[in-house]
């Protein structure tokens, strides 16, 4: 048997027939993959949207809503939320003589009852400056009582106490008593000088919101240059979220407060997470005795009673006159906040350090600093991002908490927490002063918490293998 001698013609050029080698789907990086998973999570996406809205509210809001958050208006203290209202500019008030009978000589008879006055009407335009009323004379009446009610009176007893009264020769009344732009029910009742009679005439009046030019100028509603004349219509300032106990606009203060609360809530965690990464990374990477000493120190810091030391440190770093106290709080948060991240990062680094690819990189001659920057830190980023997301609501809570007990930012700087502190005092009568800042804190914390949950799921590699 001869040995098989292959010739070149016996060989056939191999071609790849199947598409096994092809990558059917685009390859995704870790972060792309995480983003795909996050996009499937509706709650996390909505939270992300809320956070973006909050950022817009904080950064762009003050440019759109140009009201000075520190401007006090003691005429408008603790007002409920309101919408823009048109107002007319009127001439300055001029006294009114009213309508009088020249030849009035008192009643001739004293009948048992008197009819209700007829033709009860307003004189001129009814504005919040004044409402002028007149009516026809009732024979034998020696005076009239005028009533004002906010709702339709059911009968004579429902009228309450009179607003004022006139003598028999006076057939008019001028009401200037804190008028608002709303419906009023005026009633006029004739008297015989002593007794009232139960016949009354009703008149429904809705005074128009009106300001004199001086008032409009004093409240900065118009400029002198605007050349506003009486009779013109202007828009009166309004407070979509009401005003606080000093008449400051709540919306503007919430925006200003958002800057403080979110600044502390985001910058402090960023700083202390960074400190934690460096500290924990250092301890975990070098290990051994150094690790033991460093982590023992971190244990001590964790054992410090957090709030007590927040207060103590904040005071220790001092607030000068006119300062807001934001920076002492920031420093205190960083000083006390870092150990949690440090522990976490250290644990991660200890795990990653033993991985094969680190060994491989080291064999190839990678230096410590390259390994840390290129391999270890990027691999801990997922966990760190999640920590950061959960640290933000915690920091916002701490700020709110401290400001609430009066150890936070110094007035007049608003923060959501200090606004709650002010609002809680008038909670029963003006709930909006507590509700709005509390709502902002809650929604922000909620959004960051839900986003954190979503990120945990999106970045957790154990979750990944599940589907």
């Amino acid at each position: 048997m001869s040995l098989f001698q292959p010739e070149l013609s016996d060989f056939e050029r191999a071609t790849v027939q199947s598409d096994i080698e092809q990558i059917s789907r685009p390859s995704l990086s870790y972060w792309q993959d995480a983003w795909v998973r996050l996009k499937k999570n509706t709650r996390a996406l909505v939270s992300l949207g809320i956070i973006i809205l909050l950022a817009i509210f904080t950064l762009i809001g003050p440019l759109v809503w140009r009201v000075d958050p520190a401007l006090q208006d003691l005429n408008q203290v603790s007002q409920a939320p309101s919408w823009p209202k048109p107002a007319i500019v009127v001439e300055p008030y001029e006294s009114w003589d009213g309508i009088r009978l020249d030849d009035y000589a008192g009643p001739e008879n004293y009948p048992d009852t008197l009819p209700a006055p007829e033709n009860f009407r307003t004189v001129g335009e009814a504005t919040t400056q004044r409402v002028r009323l007149t009516w026809d004379q009732v024979p034998d009446a020696d005076g009239y009582n005028i009533y004002r009610n906010n709702r339709l009176p059911q009968d004579f007893n429902d009228l309450g106490l009179p607003l004022g009264s006139t003598y028999g020769d006076e057939l008019s009344y001028e009401d200037r008593l804190s008028l608002e732009a709303r419906e009023y029910y005026y009633a006029v009742v004739p008297t015989d000088g002593i007794d009232e009679f139960e016949n009354y005439t009703l008149l429904q009046v809705s005074p128009k919101l009106a300001l004199t030019l001086d008032e409009a100028l004093a409240r900065n509603l118009v400029d002198v240059q605007d050349n506003v004349r009486p009779g013109d219509e202007i828009t009166i300032e309004f407070h979509p979220l009401g005003t606080d106990y000093l008449g400051r606009d709540m919306l503007a203060r919430l925006m200003e407060g958002a800057r403080v609360s979110l600044f502390i809530g985001i910058v402090a965690p960023l700083l202390y997470v960074m400190v934690g990464i460096m500290y924990g990374g250092f301890a975990g990477y070098f290990g051994g005795r150094l690790d033991a000493v460093l982590m023992r120190f971190a244990d001590f810091v964790v054992a410090l009673p957090f709030l007590l030391f927040m207060i103590l440190f904040k005071i220790a770093f001092g607030i000068g006159p006119g300062e807001s106290g934001i920076f002492p709080m920031l420093i205190a948060l960083v000083l006390l906040g870092w150990p949690a991240t440090a522990r976490l990062v250290r644990g991660q680094v200890l795990q990653i350090r033993e991985q094969g690819y680190i060994e491989a990189a080291r064999l190839l001659g990678a230096k410590d600093h390259y390994l840390i920057m290129r391999h270890i830190i990027p691999n801990t980023m997922g966990v760190i991002l999640v920590t950061l997301t959960f640290a933000v609501p915690a920091a916002i809570f701490t700020e709110a908490f401290l400001s609430f007990i009066g150890m936070g930012v110094a007035p007049p700087t608003p923060s959501w927490g200090s606004m709650c502190n002010e609002g809680v005092k008038t909670m029963l009568s003006h709930p909006h002063e507590l509700i709005f800042p509390a709502l902002f804190i809650s929604v922000t914390v909620l959004a960051f918490n839900l986003l954190g949950d979503g990120l945990t799921e999106a970045l957790d590699s154990r979750m990944r293998s599940r589907d």
Binding site: D299, F300, A303, L304, P305, F306, L307, L308, F309, I311, L312, F313, I315, A316, F317, G318, P393, F397, A400, F401, F404, I405, G406, M407, G417, C420, N421, V424, M427, L428, L434, A438, I441, S442, V443, V445, L446, N449, L450
Partner: protein, 310 residues
């Protein structure tokens, strides 16, 4: 076990020393001193007062005097509350804070375990969805808002009944404690519910549950003996740190409900730079928390046989 306890106690003592030192340093960083308010009218009076309180000595000397006294269990006399010993202040007001805290933690842990187990049983069904929604709310709303709402609720209840059934503020009877403890525990309860739920869901897939089922144990027995007992472990672990959160978290609740706890005295002392009261309350609180964490860790050994070896 004994060795472990002793080791932990020694570490605890060092921790307390660290807390004391950190407090001392931070406190002396604050500009001014306790005598700056109104007492030291003239230089002579000031000198006498400094001598009386030992402020004339160098700071390091003061530190060692303080440490020595602390070892004897004496925190000194208050600067601002005349002739009142710091020990007395702690003795008078700490039990109030502690009672409130214990009630709150009891309420939070029982509620958390109960709701957590419930949500795990009814996973993705109505009770689960409702409870988890409330939990999210509990985590996101600050305690002072709950405190304010709680008070509002009491006002409404009382005015509806026409008499003051549950007091709105103050301290004294068990009725005073109910609402503050409830409010104080809410955040922790929400946190524990979440933890308990995920822990229950993890345990349910474990092999020993399958084994128990295969052995033919009744579902109730499996639930209580196997699932619940194992799922509780993570809850117990966080209980130590949560005690710390609750006891200091009591500040706000004490403030809103006008409860004479220790928190108010600490805030007051910091504002007036009352050195001895600051040191006393901080060290005492710190020691209390350290002890709590140690106790929880030791208790943990009894619940989980696996860590007893540590």
């Amino acid at each position: 076990m004994l060795m472990y306890t002793i080791k932990r106690l020694i570490a605890g003592v060092i921790t307390v020393w660290f807390i004391a030192t950190a407090t001392f340093i931070a406190m002396h960083q604050v500009p001014g001193d306790p005598l700056m308010n109104d007492k030291a009218v003239t230089a002579e009076i000031r000198a006498n007062l400094e001598k009386k309180y030992g402020l004339d000595k160098p700071v390091t000397h003061q530190y060692f005097i303080f440490l020595g006294n602390m070892l004897k269990g004496d925190f000194g006399i208050s600067f601002t509350q005349q002739n009142r010993r710091v020990n007395d202040i702690i003795q008078d007001h700490f039990p109030v804070s502690a009672t409130l805290g214990i009630l709150a933690i009891l309420f939070a842990s029982m509620g958390g375990i109960l709701w957590g187990a419930l949500t795990a049983i009814y996973r993705n069904r109505m009770p689960d969805i409702i409870i988890m929604f409330l939990v999210i709310l509990g985590i996101s709303v600050p305690s002072f808002v709950f405190a304010a709402l709680g008070q509002l609720l009491l006002v409404n209840i009382n005015s509806m009944l026409g008499q003051s059934v549950i007091p709105v503020a103050g301290w004294g009877t068990i009725w005073h404690m109910l609402m503050p403890a409830l409010v104080l525990g809410l955040g922790t309860m929400a946190f524990l519910t979440r933890l308990m739920r995920s822990s229950m869901l993890e345990v349910v897939n474990e092999d020993y549950i399958k084994t128990a089922r295969a052995k033919g144990l009744s579902p109730t027995r499996i639930f209580f003996r196997h699932q619940l007992r194992n799922a509780i472990l993570p809850v117990v672990t966080v209980l130590g740190p949560q005690i710390a959160v609750i006891t200091t978290g009591g500040f706000v609740v004490e403030l809103v409900f006008a409860i004479p706890g220790l928190g108010r005295y600490f805030v007051q002392a910091v504002q007036q730079l009352d050195y001895t009261v600051i040191m006393g309350t901080t060290v005492f609180y710190g020691a209390f928390l350290v002890l709590m964490v140690i106790i929880v860790d030791i208790l943990y050994g009894f619940i989980d046989p696996r860590v007893r070896l540590a």
